[in-house]
Amino acid sequence: METILQGLMELAGVRATMVLDGSGQLVAHRGQSVYDRSVCEQVGSTVTKAIESIQLQQDDWETITAQFADGRILVRRVTVRADGPKLVLAVVADTTLNPSFATVALRVAANKVRSMLEGGASQPPAAAGSQPLGAPGASSSVLSPADSRPVLANTGLSWSKSSGAGSQLGSQAGGSSTAGLSGVAVADPASAAFLSRCAKELARHVGPISKVYVQEAARRVSPDAPFALTASRQLIDDLSNQIEDPKDRAHFRKAALEKK
């Protein structure tokens, strides 16, 4: 998701990009330093109110462009499925934005987001007890410290098992594991279950991208061997770095350690 938003940021005049869910919550964002998380959350909430009202008049809207004295807000609907999550992609730009280029770029970005989410949503549901969490196909780009961190929230998508992951986990875990984290080799079913629990717990703080964070962290802490519970504390330490708020971080660490 961040890669898609970063692509939009590279368009001349774009100051911030964000993905909002149907309730106005920020699913992801990239922006210049002045457009930090709190600003984007406020704007997201306000824009969503406007969208909800527009839908009273025109429920088949596709794009909304608000032109201001010193810039624009462009919004494009991203409908994954009829019963899927209602997401919108929003771009904040200054007056140097080329509206024609922006329209095309926004359309391309919306298609990419849709493809990404559809790819995940089409997979079978996860193991029993898993909760709706997020976009399994989401990818995370490496951000420099100066960048604003992406803020992700629950999109209501299904926490799903990757078929590839299932086979990998299954083969490595003697076929008894039903948890799924694509591309992560695990030593045993307990390790797979631990990863799933970590992802669920992390999702409370960072949203659906948690699954990707867990995949990456598991590979980092155990690069040469299947992930095992012996590396669980390292994994928790690594994942904690994904949570900005110290309170949330502490809460996650406590909860994850309890689930160890």
């Binding site: 100051r15 911030a16 002045v34 457009y35 600003v39 406020q42 704007v43 306000t46 824009v47 109110k49 406007a50 009202s53 527009i54 009273l56 008049q57 025109q58 088949d60 809207w61 596709e62 794009t63 909304i64 462009t65 608000a66 032109q67 201001f68 004295a69 010193d70 810039g71 624009r72 807000i73 904040v92």
Partner: protein, 107 residues
Amino acid sequence: MSDLAIIAKIPDVKSAVLGDLAGGFHDAVREQDGETVAAVMGFVSSAMSSAGEQLGLGALRRIAVAGEARGCLVLVHGNVVITASVEPGKSVGAVEKVLDSTVHGRV
């Protein structure tokens, strides 16, 4: 001729409504439910103005909503909000251009 009448004469503009940022209804051309349109678009304009303030984008000038079958253009000048319903939706851009050349600076 009033701005509302000028806007209503633009090709593909099906109706036009004059309202204000508080959602008040003042006048309409070919729109039977002008009160509702004025109320909704007044609120939408207020909300977008707030978003613009939060982002430091200055005063709201215009909102364009486009769908496949229809769209609308909302012009904001001070407290005045003019909403033009456009059909088909792909004509929104063309109507915007006509507006720029005919009523630019007047509303």
